[in-house]
């Protein structure tokens, strides 16, 4: 099989990867070597007709939309933030976490979210945060950050943040508490439009095998 005939899949580096490797193992596709060497970014399994690449989670939707890879795995946080033109055929139920509004504990004691009219938010997710507050009629000033969002209230950059939480440990350590849940997040399988149209049976077969593992 020629390289361009391999089904290519972009996997996100980070916390979702380990669970994704587990799902593929359930399909009989062994890619656990991908966890061993963090510098190796491309893995080919010609016997399965597949090719995997490791990239940053925010880059997965881009690679898939442009057709550089056929499919990818990305969290709903990234997908909703970027809103690219992709198929999202399967919720994988992995990488489970929540996107929340959080603020310092002492603020919460006197705060009433139903009275918010204008707020300042630090976040990695400007689009999701803007839409969430605007839908409720709250004007929002967004300060876009690229990491360590929980430091913003500590240093007075913004009073509140919108960020992902898993256990809530990071928030607690920084004196923050959750006030509202913006969305529940899991990772989805995404697929390029042209790939699905030009090789429908291979893509569909792959999706159904993976669905079997996810639902089974």
């Amino acid at each position: 099989m020629k390289r361009e005939d391999l089904l290519s899949i972009a996997l996100p580096k980070g916390r979702i990867l380990q669970e994704a490797v587990g799902l593929f193992a359930g399909m009989g596709i062994d890619i656990k070597d991908i966890l061993e060497d963090p510098r190796r970014l491309v893995f080919e399994l010609p016997e399965e007709g597949m090719r995997f690449m490791l990239i940053r989670t925010q880059d997965v939707p881009v690679y898939v939309e442009y057709g550089a890879v056929d499919m990818g795995i990305a969290g709903k946080d990234v997908l909703y933030e970027q809103r690219r033109d992709l198929y999202e055929p399967l919720d994988l139920g992995i990488g489970r976490c929540r996107m929340v509004v959080a603020e310092p504990e002492e603020l919460k004691e006197r705060d009433d979210p139903s009275g918010w009219t204008h707020i300042k938010i630090a976040t990695k997710y400007p689009n999701i945060a803007t839409e969430y507050f605007l839908e409720r009629g709250i004007e929002v000033e967004i300060i876009r950050l690229y990491g360590s969002i929980e430091l913003a209230p500590l240093f007075g950059l913004s009073e509140r943040i919108v960020d992902l939480v898993q256990t809530g440990e990071t928030l607690r350590k920084n004196g923050l508490v959750e006030v509202e849940t913006v969305m529940e997040v899991t990772a989805k399988l995404v697929c390029n439009r042209a790939s699905l149209k030009t090789k429908p049976s291979r893509i569909k077969d792959f999706i159904e095998r993976l669905r079997g593992v996810v639902e089974g």
Partner: protein, 333 residues
């Protein structure tokens, strides 16, 4: 650093140098030659139109992408065309009624579609397209159009392509029977557009009392009804309602004719495709080649378009993305 913007171009437009211009010319002459042989005649439409006139025949998504300005003398809002089809509809409705039907017309023009500030993709597109305006909507006509597009691709030397066929009337028919709120309908459409079966199932379960079991089953099948041409037969086995069956039989007829013209292996089906929901009324199709992620050809039937310009006749058409074809022929993708 010197200011690089001093003599640069606006975002999304570009110069085309002789070598590429020559390739474009060759693509244009090949395609328009095929159109001529099939009896299509060229028309030329103006670069700008009144926005309210243009909007009567625009797909919802394109209305948001207009370059608009105020005509200084009349004070009316004018837009650069983002699509030629509504212009031809206006032209035919106002100036060509006496010619009789059918009317077979083609165009070779540039169009402008604004993009979001963070999107640096092309704003000016080169399109060659054809329109077939007739008294009735017939599968033979849609099949003739698709066949002509495929022949043009072959003449260009492109053999490895797929034309993906859907049916907007079928989906609209299903949606019309759901009795859900407009907001829920949008969410359902969005889930179908993304082939997100999980999200669709949640929405259907929440609204089961109004949707009903029969419609629910049909709706949920939409994210799976894609693949080779047997998809249409599979759908026909499940669909009982006569109106919906007619749409499927229409697709089947088109597929049969295009197949018998020697293009059976180039057809795929996707009955869950909802692209251009507000605009199309029947068959829709898009052509994908190689690793190119955007279609080089898209079109379909829009039977309400002519009526929105006051001439109650039917129409179907398609357009090639010329730059996309040149990129494929130059093996850039």
């Amino acid at each position: 650093m010197k200011d690089p913007s001093s003599i640069s171009l606006p975002r999304g437009v570009r110069d085309i140098l002789p070598e590429e211009a020559e390739r474009i010319y060759s693509v244009e002459t090949t395609i328009t030659d095929v159109f001529h042989r099939q009896g299509f005649r060229r028309v030329i439409t103006p670069l700008v139109e009144y926005v309210d006139v243009l909007s009567r025949g625009l797909d919802e998504r394109l209305k948001e992408r207009l370059f608009k300005f105020i005509d200084p003398l009349t004070g009316r809002v004018v837009a650069i065309r983002p699509d030629i089809t509504p212009q031809i509809a206006r032209m035919v409705a106002t100036k060509m009624r006496t010619e009789g039907l059918p009317l077979k017309l083609y165009y070779n023009e540039n169009i402008f579609r604004s993009t979001k500030p963070d999107d640096t993709s092309t704003v000016e597109l080169l399109q060659i397209g054809a329109e077939y305006i007739s008294e009735k909507a017939l599968p033979e006509i849609d099949a003739e159009m698709i066949t002509m597009a495929m022949e043009a691709l072959n003449r260009l030397g492109i053999e490895d392509f797929r034309v993906d066929i859907g049916e907007m009337g079928f989906i609209k028919g299903i949606m019309a029977g759901l009795n859900v709120s407009a907001g829920t309908e949008e969410l359902i459409k969005d889930a179908i557009a993304k082939k997100d079966g999980g999200a669709l199932k949640e929405l259907v379960d929440e609204n089961m009392d109004t949707i009903g079991e029969e419609a629910a089953r049909l709706l949920l099948s939409l994210t799976e009804l894609y693949g080779d041409t047997t998809v249409v037969d599979r759908a026909l086995e499940h669909v009982k309602e006569e109106g919906l069956r007619e749409h499927l039989l229409y697709v089947k007829k088109v597929v049969d004719i295009v197949g018998s013209n020697g293009f059976a292996d180039n057809i795929t089906i996707d009955l869950g495709e909802v692209r251009g929901f507000a605009y199309y009324t029947g068959i829709i199709f898009e052509c994908f080649c190689g690793r190119m992620s955007s279609p080089v050809l898209s079109g379909g039937r829009y039977d309400n378009l002519m009526a929105s310009y006051g001439y109650d006749v039917k129409s179907t058409g398609f357009a090639f993305d010329v730059a996309g074809l040149v990129a494929i022929l130059s093996r850039e993708v």
